[in-house]
Symmetry: C2
Subunit: 497 residues, 2 copies
């Protein structure tokens, strides 16, 4: 595959957070292990139990009857058996403890909703590997990594919890998720409305498939974020690609690039240069996703409004190539070396290891076929068109499978979802994923909440003194809807008896 597709294959969702987790306390409590974790502020303890459920590897076939252990976390400090609720995080492409620690919103609202918090790990991520360390060896072992299987896991898990936890049986369950997890939350409500009374789908680009939205919308929003964060910022980045290309023509230029940037491994050929540009592009993308209004320590520590900080180095697109690239490199250091502790930069890494990049790469090659493109005009990147045929070839080479780009729309309805109810779609306008999200109300009970100053699911993060008013408003609307769903559930239950 040409680099553009590789670049886009690497594109995974990010669910940045502000928590550092200390090792589990390992205090045995019945059959559960308890794990305590602390946020970076060191003050709010998150206490949850770590649990496992045996799940069928294949819910949709009976030939293989194997099971695997799916991990899930439960926090019930604020749960009330009388009139309470269950908030169920539909885990996405990563370690569930990481999502648990980075979805402070659920912890913040637990008391007022008298809610038990459940965080369910997505199969093939974290510890929930259907075939252990063989899970990614080939397409046969990967055959059960689909959104449908993940939703079935969630459904089976909730039925299990209701059956086994005294007091849980007659309580409403609300699905909550962000990013791909937000898509899962929405789809879970659509497909299993008998199991969850509603869903909060934060930053869920459920329309980033097929022709539902233009393929360029994602990178245009990334570009806008840089444009608004400093004069000439996006123009400087747009100019940088040709500057790199010009340096890359000679061995001396490659050496200069490697040294100026402090790369761990020197660039030696054209492919390396393509990788460098892909890595830089992903950095800008990641910054757009985590452009939060306060200091956060996702992956590497970042300052508040990190794009503004980055853009301070990117004010002039008209300087010499060398000067421009040195400015770019300083900007990159904001993302990769804010703490000043990196000795060199590794262009094969952009995100936390808590995210399962292998798994997501497979999912992107099968069901989650999201078209991306750039034209260099409406965005600040080198032009790349979306080429499904090439993408398919690359997927076949990498995983031995071919994408089915129409399937997700057939399965989950595309834009034709108005017959469903009780789903909140929240999106931050700074978040490039909002381009594929639902940003207008569809019906009275399929509502869109937009957060002008929000990046990738800011609303799901723990409350913060620097939260903009718009995210406070969004959260309070979300809680209002959830309370309504809970009231409706109990009212219906009373009607039955």
């Amino acid at each position: 595959m040409g680099r553009p597709t590789v670049l886009l294959l690497l594109l995974t969702f990010l669910t940045p957070g502000a928590a550092i987790r200390v090792p589990p306390a390992m205090k045995a409590l019945s059959s559960l292990r308890w794990s305590t974790s602390f946020t970076s502020r060191g003050t709010v303890a998150k206490k949850y139990s770590i649990n496992y459920i045996e799940q069928k590897v294949n819910h949709f076939g009976f030939d293989a009857d194997e099971t695997f252990k799916q991990r899930y976390l439960i926090a019930d400090e604020y749960w009330k058996k009388n009139g309470g609720s269950i908030l169920f995080y539909t885990g996405n492409e990563g370690d569930i403890t990481w999502f648990c620690n980075n979805t402070g919103f659920m912890w913040d609202v637990a008391a007022q909703l008298k809610a038990m918090l459940v965080f369910a790990e997505h199969r093939y991520y974290g510890e929930s590997l259907p075939f252990g360390n063989k899970s990614f060896t080939d397409s046969r072992h990967l055959d059960f990594l689909t959104s449908e299987q993940a939703l079935a896991d969630f459904a089976v898990l909730i039925k299990h919890l209701k059956k086994t936890i005294p007091g849980a049986k007659n309580q409403p369950v609300i699905a909550i998720g962000g990013s791909y997890g937000g898509m899962l939350a929405a789809w879970f409500r659509m497909k299993y409305p008998h199991i969850v009374v509603g869903a909060l789908a934060a930053s869920a680009p459920i329309w980033h498939f097929g022709n539902l939205v233009p393929c360029g919308v994602f990178m245009e929003i990334v570009t806008k974020d840089f444009k608004r964060s400093g004069p000439n910022c996006s123009e400087t980045i747009r100019s940088s690609w040709d500057a790199i290309n010009r340096f890359a023509r000679t061995g001396a230029g490659l050496r200069w690039l490697s040294e100026s940037l402090g790369l761990c491994t020197a660039l030696t050929n054209t492919q390396d240069v393509q990788n460098l540009k892909a890595w830089i592009s992903e950095t800008w993308i990641n910054l757009a996703m985590v452009d939060y209004p306060y200091e956060s320590d996702f992956l590497q520590p970042l300052p508040a409004w990190p794009i503004k900080v980055v853009c301070q180095y990117l004010k002039n697109p008209s300087v010499s190539d060398a000067q421009l690239l040195q400015n770019i490199f300083q900007a990159l250091n904001v993302y990769y070396n804010y703490s000043g502790q990196a000795n060199c930069l590794n262009i094969s890494e952009t995100t936390t290891s808590s995210l399962g990049t292998q798994g997501w790469s497979y999912q992107a090659c099968t069901e989650m076929v999201m078209p991306f493109c750039t034209n260099g005009i409406d965005d600040m990147f080198e032009p790349h068109s979306w080429n499904l045929r090439e993408f398919s070839e690359d997927c076949f080479k990498q995983w031995g499978v071919r994408p089915r780009p129409a399937w997700i729309i057939t399965m989950y309805g595309g834009k034709n979802i108005s017959s469903h109810t009780n789903i909140i779609f929240s999106n931050g306008e700074l978040d490039p994923w909002s381009g594929g999200g639902v940003t207008k109300d569809i019906t009275d009970t399929l509502v869109a909440i937009t957060i002008p100053e929000g990046a990738h699911h800011l609303d799901l993060r723990a409350r913060n003194a620097f939260d903009p008013t718009t995210v406070l408003l969004a959260r309070s609307l979300e809680v209002r809807h959830m309370k309504q769903w809970i009231r409706d559930f109990y009212a219906n239950q009373r009607k039955k008896h």
Copy 2:
């Protein structure tokens, strides 16, 4: 497995009909073959095209990328591109041409709904065999025989039709099915509401799973049908089992049984006697399903109200064993030899070969786990309890798979389906499957229609001069709902533009 379970394993749905199909006319018309068939009355011609679509063998996994040809029939004589609709029969466990010819209701309403009729064959039945004649060889080849895969086939097919048939794109599709096909129609609307605007689920026992209804309800309704059809009728049948058992104790008794009944193969051992009783039980069950108010020629020709005819032979439970059994055998002959052409009776057959008994046996052993039981008191059968463990063992022996009795409820919601809309559940009160059906309105748009004089989906059959008023009323209500769905669809469409 003990016979009771075998008996129940054999229990398949029946979709009896009144049509004799002449061989296809084979007149080529573009790429379609046209097939013309005639009802028994010889007057109403059914003209449809036979078509095939390439479907993924596995919609829910990407390792195997094979496809197979799914057959579907289209009749568009009454279809209008302007303001029309598409009635989509969600094929069940048999040859789709048989269902097509036995769902006269769709043909009868096509003109007033300006409807295209589509009949989609269920995978693993009729010609739609994913692995040709290897489809049933082992659990590996059978792994893709599930309701979820079948629904996915339907969804993909409808998307394909809308894309390829000019004028179909912006038309509402209504799912229609009877029996297991009715379950599929209801589930299709629940899971793919973006693809069908509503569903008519006729005689669909969607609650005949787990503990949703008592396991004895089915056989109780069979018994009631015989009780109401003649004095002492059900009591006579109840007495017959012990009479058979007493005869079966000796070789002479076995010979007498075999000869008196005119069996093709003589009974020689206890297992044969169990098989005989299972076969007789199934005959009574089948009669309860096809107890139609007019002469019909399903399997074997049957008189109007066949149970009444049968019961004329079963008026006295207190005669000698020999006399009682001779009466039973005369009654059986109503079902097996109404035309007088059978030379002997074969106890390994009870239903038309158009039904795929192998496929249904596998489905009953995996997803479609329907508990049945008898107690000999509330019903006229020998007592048999429902034994899941034993059932599971037998399934494993027969197919190498084990049933997952909770799965269907987890997947499709059990009794908790009130968030769905636009489904008509119709049931005949004579139909034993009505015990597992929805017979009371759930909401304004999830409505139940009951037909007091109706057997198994009488409403889906072609109109007949002897139709009781209640089925005429049911059909007119069904049409009224369907017209409303169509109107709503077009009103919404206008609103969008």
